[in-house]
Each structure stands twice: as C-alpha cells, then as structure tokens.
C-alpha cells in the first residue's frame, strides 16, 4: 500500500556559517493512508518544519518529499498551486478565515478557487458533521474561536484532499472547543477515511491519533501506535530529560 505522504532522508538547514541552524537531520517518514498521524516533540524539535516540508509550504535542503504519487520536491510555484488545489488541505492554529466571506463561503473557497463544483451530498455531510447549523451565513467575526476552527476544518475536508495538515489546531482554543475539533478530526478519519497529519505539543490531543511520531533535535526518535494521553505524556517527559528542553 503506498503512503499518502512520504519524506525520504529530509534535511532542512536555515542560514549558513555561524548562524546555521539545522532543523531536520535526515528524517524519513511514511504517512499511512486513512490514518490520523500526530507529530510531537519539544519546541525546536523540528516538528512544524517537518509538516511544512511535507505539505510543500517549505522547501527541503536535501531529500525528497511526496504527497500521494506527486513528487513535491522541485515543484514550481504552479505545480505547488496545483498540489494545494488537488491533494492537500490545511488547518492552522490561527483559524485563518477570510473575514470578507461567510462561513459557508469560506468552506467552499478551495473548490471555488480551483473552479470545481462541490458534490452536494458530500458538502452537506461535511456541514452536518461540523455542526455549525444556523451560523453558516455568518461572518468569521461573528463566530467564536471554536466555531471558526470548525469552519477551517470543514474547509480542509470539503475538497477531499489526499492529506489534511493540521498545525496545532487546538493551540488557540479552550479545552472544550479543542475536544470538539479533535473529535471532528477523528471522525473524519474513522468515518470518511481522510488522512490527517497533525502537529501538536499537547499529549491529550495526540491521544486522538492512530500513531504518534516523536521528534527531537531534528530526528525521529520514537513512535507509538494507538497512544493514550498518559503514555504520550510519559514519553514526552523522557524526551525532555534527554534533550534538556524545558517546555
């Protein structure tokens, strides 16, 4: 079975000489199709960089990245645009909705940009799942943070991408709203077979995933299947001790 996304010996180096920072040191990772993968690690471990590289938002210094059967490494801006239209979806920490569009218009934005029509049945399913009900015609400024993030999740889901990349999706939310979002992401994987990669530093959030990959100092140091919050927390603590990071 081929992976939904794949990184092979990826290096990412910022700057040069004295100021050189190595964010990723030869990371190889296969993201399984139809699974919920969490990437964890202390601050500065390179977890966000890894996700950005996987999603084609950042270029790699060495190695290769592929989404589905598309080789991301070396794509032109046009190719990246096509990739974003057809293969990836994003959920960001800061919601990132367009303030000029209603919730519903924000959800269908990727399809509108790509010039595609939404499958009405699928659109309805997504809307129902996201549970916004009567607030679809509202502008983002009239929605709570949890509601905005649900709109962002629905937007990522509606174009049925190969992979959804979620970057600390619960980072700006209270625990109740965060739990709603995680439940929603979990259901997308379980019920619709959506592949999701999520970066988080919250052990509880990671416990919703099928698999957790642990990064430290730019390397994958461990991984865990069917994680529980306690197990993840223990793992993190041991990593913190190991790297001396203080998160």
């Amino acid at each position: 079975m081929n992976a939904a996304a794949r990184a092979v010996d990826v290096w990412k180096v910022y700057g040069s000489g004295e100021a050189q920072v190595i964010a990723l040191r030869g990371v190889s990772l296969e993201v399984e199709r139809g699974k919920f993968t969490a990437i964890m690690g202390p601050s500065g471990s390179g977890k966000s960089t890894l996700m950005h590289c996987l999603a084609g938002l950042d270029s790699v210094s060495r190695g290769q990245v592929a989404v589905g059967d598309t080789l991301v490494t070396g794509l032109s801006d046009g190719g990246l645009t096509k990739l974003r239209r057809e293969k990836v979806g994003f959920v960001f920490q800061q919601f990132n909705l367009l303030p000029t569009l209603t919730a519903e218009e924000n959800i269908s934005l990727p399809l509108a940009i790509a010039g595609r029509k939404a499958d009405p049945a699928w659109f309805k399913t997504v809307i129902d799942t996201v549970g916004l009900g009567d607030r679809l015609k509202h502008r983002p400024s009239e929605l709570s943070g949890g509601q905005q993030q649900r709109v962002a999740c629905a937007r990522a889901l509606v174009s049925r991408p190969e992979v959804i990349f979620a970057d600390e999706p619960t980072g700006n939310l209270d625990s109740k709203s965060g739990a709603d979002i995680l439940t929603f992401l979990r259901r997308s994987v379980s019920e619709f077979g959506q592949t999701i990669v999520m970066v988080t530093h919250d052990a509880n959030a990671a416990s919703y995933a099928d698999r957790v990959v642990f990064l430290a100092d730019g390397r994958i140091v461990d991984e865990m299947s069917s994680p529980t919050a306690e197990a993840v927390l223990d793992k993190i603590k041991s990593l913190d001790v190991m790297t001396g990071a203080d998160e």
């Binding site: 046009g78 974003r84 239209r85 960001f92 000029t100 934005l109 990727p110």
Partner: protein, 847 residues
C-alpha cells in the same frame, strides 16, 4: 516621546515613501511654476536692459486715453536737447508691419512685427547696428534686421513686400541695408524689424511728416540719469512725461511680468489642485498607518502618554514627512521650472539669451508652506483618532467593526448643499467675490461628495464588480474593495477630483461646440466668413481693408458682403465695453435680428443700437444719449434701436462712420451672403484670392469656421487634461499606496488563499480587480460630478445667451472610464507583484 516617534518614522519609511512622493509632485509643480515665471521675467528684464542700455532719459506722451495722444515735433526735439544730452533719437515706431516671404508669397509669422523710422545717420543710441548696405535713403528703401531677412528669405537689394496697416495693403520696397543689434544679435526676441526712411515712416505711421511719438536721450559722461531727467522735465511740452532709462526698463519688465503672472497663476491653480489631491493620499496613508499601529499607540498611552502627546507624535511625523517632501519638491521644481522655461522660450521663438535660473524667496516659502501644511492637515484627523483609542481596547486584538456612515453622510450632504448654493450664487454673478465664491463652492462640493462617497461605494462597487469581478479571484477582489468603504472612497475621491475637472471642461466644450453648430446652422443669410488672425488684438490694427469687401461684392452670386470692425479700447458711460461697427441694416438682414425698439437701419454718425439685455440691465431706451469713448475720442451717441440679443449678435453696435475713431481702420470680420446659384467652394477660393495680401486673414464657409472653433475648444480641454496630469498621477499613487498598505494588513489572508490553492496569477487578478474597482469608482464619481458642474455652468451661459444647448461628450466620457480601467491595472502592477511573491509560509505566520 519625540525619539519614539522618529524611530517609528524610520521603521515605516517604505509606507511613507508614496506620501512623500505625492508631496514632492505637488510642491514640485508649484515651485516649478513659480520658478518658470521668475526665470521668464528675468529673461525679459534682460531684454529691456539691452534695449535701454544707452538710454538715460525717455520722453513719452502721458497715458491719457481720453485725448488724442500728443506728438513731438522737430522743434520740440531741438528744444529738449538740453545741456548734458549727448545724442537724441526721435521715436517713430509701430507694430503690424508684416513682411511677406519671397518664396511662398505668404506673410511671415512672428510675435512682433516692428516698423521704425530712421534718419541718414542711423540709430543714434547704438542699439541697432548697420551690417551691410546703407540706411534707407529714399521712400522706396528699407533696412531690415538679419532675422527679418532670414524669415522673409530676402537679401540685400532684393525686393520685399510689406503690409502697411494704415494703408490696409501691401507695398514693395528695396532692401537697402541689413542691420543687427548690439552684441552681434540678429534679433532681440524673435521679432521682425523694418526700418523706413524717417520722413516716409512718419507718413506711413502718423499720416504726416515731422512728428514723433516720443524720444530717447543719452547722457554725456558725468551726467546722471536723474539729473538729466530733471533738466529735460523743465522743458517738456504739455502732455509728455520723462522717465529715466532705469525706470523705463523696470516699467517695461513689470508690464511683461503682469502678463506672465497670469500664466503662473493658472499653473499655480493646477498645482493647488494637485496638492488638494495629495491631501487625500496623505490622509489615507496616515489613517492606515495609525490604524495599524493603534496597539503601539495604546501602549504609549498605557505607559502614561497624554492624548496630546499621541497627537504630537503623529503630527511630528507629518511635519518631518512634509518637510522632506517640500525640500525634494522644491529641488524638483527648480529643475522642472528651468527646463520648462527653456522649452517654452524655444517654442515661442523668444530668441533671448537666458538670464539664469531665478529661485525667488516666494518659491521657497510657498514650497514649505504648501508641503508642510498639506501634510499636517491630512494627518490631523488620524492623529486625533489615534489619541482617542482607549488603551485597554487597543491592546486586545484589533477589532474594527464597520462604523455607521450616517453621521459622515449627513455632514457630506450638508457640505454638498452649501457648496451647490455658493456655486449658484457665484454663477448668478452675485457681488464682486464671484471667483472666490465659485472656488469655495467647488471645494465644498468636492469635500461633500468625498464624505458621501463611502455610502455610494457599496452599490457602485457591487454593480461594477459584477462586470469586472469574474472568477473566484475576482470575487475576492470585489469583497476586498467593499470591506472598508471609507478607504476605498477616500482613495477613489482623489481620482475623482481630476476626472471631475476634465469631464466638466469636456462637457462645457461639447455644449459650446453643439451650440455653435446649432446657432450657425440656423436660418441665417451667411455662407462665407472672413476672419482676422485669431492672435491679432481686436483693435483694428490687424485684419483686412474694408475696401476689399467691394471686390467681394463684385463676385458672381454674392448678394451682400459686410465688414465688421471691433475694438476693445472703448467704454460706454465710463464702463469698458467691447464695441462693433458695421452696417446695421445689412447685419439685420444677414443675422435675422429681431427689432425690440426703435429702428435697425444703416447708422449715421453718433448713432448706435443695443441689445435688449444690455438695454434692460442699464435701463437705457431708444432716444437716450450715451457717452461713448472709442480710442482717444469721446462723443455722445444716441440710441436709435434695440435688437433682441442672441448668441450670434449681442452688445452695442455703432455705424461705420465711428471707425474713424478706431485705432486701426482694418476690419476684423467679414460676412458674405450668396444666392442659391452660387458655388460656396468657388466663392471661398475667390474671396481667399482677394484677401491674400492681408496677412493671417482666414476665409471659410460656416462649417469650416465651426470646425476651427471646435478644434480650439478641443485644444483647451487637452491643455487642461495635461495640466491635471500631476493630480491624476498623485491619484494613481494613492491607489498604489492604499493597495500596498492593504496588502501588508492582509498578509495572512494572502498566505491563506495561496495555501488553499490560489495561484500567483490569481493573487494578481484579485488585487487587480480591487484596484480597477477603486479607479472606476473614482472615475464614475468624477464624471457624474463633472457633468453636474458643467450643467450648472452651461445653464448660466445659456441664460447669458452665450450658448443654446447642453451636450455630453460621450466619446470622451467613455474614454475616461476606459482610461480609469487602465489606471487601475497600472496601479495594481507593483502591489500585486509584491503580494504574489510573498512566501506562503511566512505570510501565514505573519503577525
């Protein structure tokens, strides 16, 4: 506080750059026009210094218009040669002696065509120097300047044909000599100069020999100008005055200065418009910058800064920006002014040596006053806004809900109504402040419409957006244009001002052209028109000899031909007036004049007719006696008839005997009636043949005349458009500025739309649509307002019987909207490129 604010300024230097550019442009325009005027003046002052270089004292008749000017005789000249006088030069000079070219037979075109009388000794004061040949010895000889020889393509001993105004015809002379000016110059200022033998010149100019219109004296060594003037004054005949050479130079310079100052004032008015447009750009810049840093300002407030200090920081920024802009603008203005002066001088054929660039204190003062004041005015409201931000509110996430536009719109409507009121008062001609009322009214209307424009922005942008906002990128652009109607409106309003003035000019011009066609297309008995050169002063010294009309009358098919004389050197009951003289009986038949009172007949001596509007306004009636001054003669005229004023004929008309009092006896216009058998084209050609000896006189049928007048109006509209160019460029910069600042504000959104699949091209389209919408909105506002103002002006002109009809220049108006579209695209280029080049990841992470 000052340090914090200056550091902030450096931090935002990129964002302020366009504001500075706007100030540089408007100040540069203003400083440029002042420098241009001063430098031109200096050039002419140099000319008069050259002319008067050897003149110690000049004697001229008093400038008394009511009497025939006094002349000096040979005896007077001898008498005035007091002790201390070295040389005397009697002044026999006139203008309008036009030489013809030897090759084409056409008249030479020159700004000034001088004739001078000269004795056998040549120019006593050494300004004119003989180069080859001899001074004119007989009445068939002339000496001409090297420039004249070049222009007329004649050489020594050749024949030259010269138009003699007093005779109303051309005569042929032999070139006995070629002359130049002191310093080896062929010409003083591009003029032609013909020197006749003294006695002959006196006959040609005054009609008898032995007369001079003045005299110049040089002084013996050691005698000062003032001393010599005193001695000469003691012997002056009645009706004359004496001035020193220095005084004469200054007087002449000032009179030329006055002419150029009108020109400079017009340029400065357009510079003022550019500065006014700049206010919008700078206001928007500061408004956006203040909004973007409301957190920083709130932090300053939270740390104990008073609101005065916050206003102070913003105004200090404005002062620095204005000061920098004014300095650069002044520098640019000096360059532009000097360049324009050189170009203009060469275009006008003013062959004067440059006197160097003149930067007066006024140019410097005005640059700083305008640059700094405009910026401070524009920054004031944003500064006050910034000071009112409650510290706690702004420290939280910046929330800018749509504020109600009701208050703003009410104030705008009030301004609009008041401005329109003033405009109508001004157009109705109330009091002597008409021009001021008009200006204030128009500015108030602009401010009113600018304040109302946010309200209009939504519906107009939506409607236009439905056409230009195709595709998702386009739709996003439309939404962005709508999200902050105030910002869109202020940016558009800057463009509106220029477009308003252009549309207004074009509409008035179109109305005038249409009216003219309508008027002349009316049921009149005029088929062919004869017209003196349009550049000639209408005082009877240029034009054609009325006797030529007798030849025209002989042409087959011609039923009537009438000459019209006009003069502007006239007054009725003490009020300056524009007078015409013709055969009123013929005019009545040709122009179908309607009799209101008395009789419209061929007028005799001291008889005149009036139009009904003038008669009514002054309560004059048939039989009244009016004091009419024409040139130097004042007489009592009797009103014998009153006719109905029309756009073709209005004002007081005298009979042909009155022409004796006109300064020149040449006719200014002629009209010809044909019977149905006549061929208009053939007649025009035949009349042209008759008129060929009269320099610059044009002959055409009515449609040719309409076309010519139309072209003159088109030229005027084009000139206004060019002069408004700077204002339009500033408006364009304003759009660029707003887009750039908006892009900074929306960096994260740009990252997002890229992340969800919008291509670079899509980003460019999105910003392009927003830009085009702003530009078209501004243009539509301008066109609408321009049409409105033009309608008011045309209505006033129709009431004054100058026009008959209001007409819209559709082609031009559509072109303006199209140009606005191109403007919008151009304005978007740079901001869109910047936005498209944003790194998606950085953009999303942007705080």
């Amino acid at each position: 506080m000052i340090k914090a604010s200056l550091r902030g300024l450096l931090h935002r230097k990129l964002r302020l750059t366009l504001a500075v550019v706007a100030i540089v442009l408007s100040v540069g325009f203003l400083a440029g026009s002042i420098v241009l005027g001063d430098t031109l003046n200096n050039r002419f002052a140099g000319l008069f210094r050259t002319i008067n270089q050897n003149v110690a004292v000049q004697v001229q008749p008093n400038d008394d218009r009511t009497e025939t000017p006094a002349r000096l005789t040979d005896a007077d000249l001898a008498n005035l040669k007091v002790d201390g006088v070295d040389k005397v030069s009697g002044d026999v000079t006139a203008n309008g002696f036009i030489p013809f070219r030897s090759d084409t037979g056409k008249a030479v075109t020159a700004q000034t065509t001088l004739a001078v009388g000269v004795g056998p000794e040549g120019d006593q004061l050494g300004l004119v120097e003989k180069r080859r040949g001899d001074w004119p010895a007989g009445s068939g000889d002339v000496a001409i300047s090297a420039n004249t020889a070049k222009l007329a393509k004649v050489g020594l001993n050749d024949e030259i044909k010269i138009f003699i105004p007093r005779l109303g015809e051309a005569r042929t002379y032999r070139v006995s000599g070629i002359v130049g000016f002191a310093g080896g110059r062929d010409t003083l200022a591009g003029e032609t100069l013909i020197m006749f033998q003294l006695d002959h010149a006196q006959k040609l100019i005054y009609g008898e020999s032995g007369l001079y219109q003045g005299a110049s004296f040089s002084a013996k060594d050691g005698v000062s100008q003032a001393e010599l003037k005193k001695r000469i004054e003691a012997k002056l005949p009645k009706g004359f005055k004496a001035t020193t050479g220095d005084e004469a130079t200054e007087e002449a310079s000032n009179s030329v200065s006055d002419q150029f100052s009108a020109f400079t004032i017009i340029l400065s008015a357009f510079a003022g418009i550019a500065a006014f447009v700049g206010i919008f750009l700078i206001y928007n810049t500061f408004n956006i910058i203040v909004a973007q840093r409301s957190r920083e300002l709130a932090l300053l407030r939270a740390m104990g800064a008073g609101w005065g200090q916050v206003i102070g920081t913003v105004l200090l920024e404005a002062l620095v920006v204005g000061g920098v802009g004014a300095t650069l603008g002044l520098a640019a203005g000096i360059g532009v002014g000097a360049g324009a002066e050189a170009w203009l001088s060469s275009q006008l054929g003013i062959a004067l040596p440059s006197g160097g660039i003149v930067v007066s204190l006024w140019a410097v003062v005005w640059s700083y006053v305008v640059g700094v004041i405009v910026t401070v005015i524009a920054a004031f409201i944003p500064a006050v806004k910034a000071s009112m931000v409650p510290p706690v509110a702004a420290m939280r996430e910046v929330v800018r809900p749509d504020k109600s536009l009701v208050g703003l719109s009410i104030v705008g409507a009030a301004f609009l109504v008041l401005g329109a009121g003033l405009l109508f008062l001004a157009l109705a001609g109330v009091g002597s402040l008409t021009a001021l009322l008009l200006a204030i009214g128009v500015v108030m209307i602009f401010v009113g419409v600018a304040l109302l424009s946010p309200l209009l922005a939504k519906p107009v942008v939506r409607a236009v957006g439905a056409i230009v906002g195709r595709g998702q990128a386009g739709k996003l652009g439309v939404r962005n244009a709508l999200r902050n109607p105030r910002r869109t409106a202020v940016t558009a309003a800057a463009l509106m001002i220029g477009v308003t003035l252009i549309s207004m000019a074009a509409t008035v011009a179109q109305s005038f052209k249409t009216s003219l066609t309508e008027i002349l297309g009316g049921d009149f008995g005029v088929e062919v028109m004869i017209q003196a050169p349009p550049t000639a002063p209408p005082t009877g010294e240029a034009g054609f000899n009325p006797s030529a009309m007798d030849k025209v009358k002989q042409l087959p098919g011609v039923t009537e031909a009438a000459a019209w004389h006009i003069t502007i050197d006239a007054a009725v009951n003490g009020t300056p007036a524009f007078l015409a003289a013709t055969d009123v009986a013929v005019a009545q038949r040709m122009w179908r004049l309607e009799t209101v009172g008395g009789q419209l007949k061929t007028l005799g001596e001291q008889e005149l007719v009036l139009d009904d509007k003038m008669a009514e306004a002054n309560r004059w009636k048939v039989g009244d006696k009016l004091d009419v001054r024409v040139g130097h003669s004042s007489k009592q005229y009797t009103v014998v008839g009153i006719y109905k004023a029309s756009p073709t004929v209005q004002g007081p008309i005298l009979g042909l005997p009155a022409v004796d009092d006109f300064a020149g006896k040449l006719a200014y216009q002629g009209f010809v009636s044909l019977d149905s058998s006549a061929d208009v084209g053939w007649t025009v050609a035949a009349v042209e043949k008759i008129m060929e000896d009269y320099p610059g006189v044009q002959v055409g049928d009515m449609s040719a005349y309409v076309e010519q007048t139309g072209q003159a109006f088109d030229f005027l509209v084009n000139a206004i458009t060019v002069l408004l160019g700077v204002a339009l460029i500033i408006a364009l910069l304003g759009i660029i500025n707003t887009l750039l600042l908006s892009i900074v504000e929306r960096t994260r959104e740009l990252g997002l739309v890229r992340a969800v699949g919008l291509s670079r091209g899509g980003v460019v389209r999105m910003i392009g649509v927003e830009s085009v919408l702003i530009a078209i909105f501004g243009c539509l506002l301008g066109v609408a307002l321009g049409i409105g103002l033009a309608a008011a002006a045309v209505k006033a002109l129709i009431d004054m019987k100058v026009m008959t009809t209001f007409a819209l220049p559709w082609t031009s108006l559509v072109t303006y909207v199209f140009v606005a579209l191109v403007f919008g695209v151009l304005a978007a280029l740079w901001p869109a490129r910047r936005a498209a080049k944003l790194n998606v990841l950085d953009a999303i992470a942007y705080e």
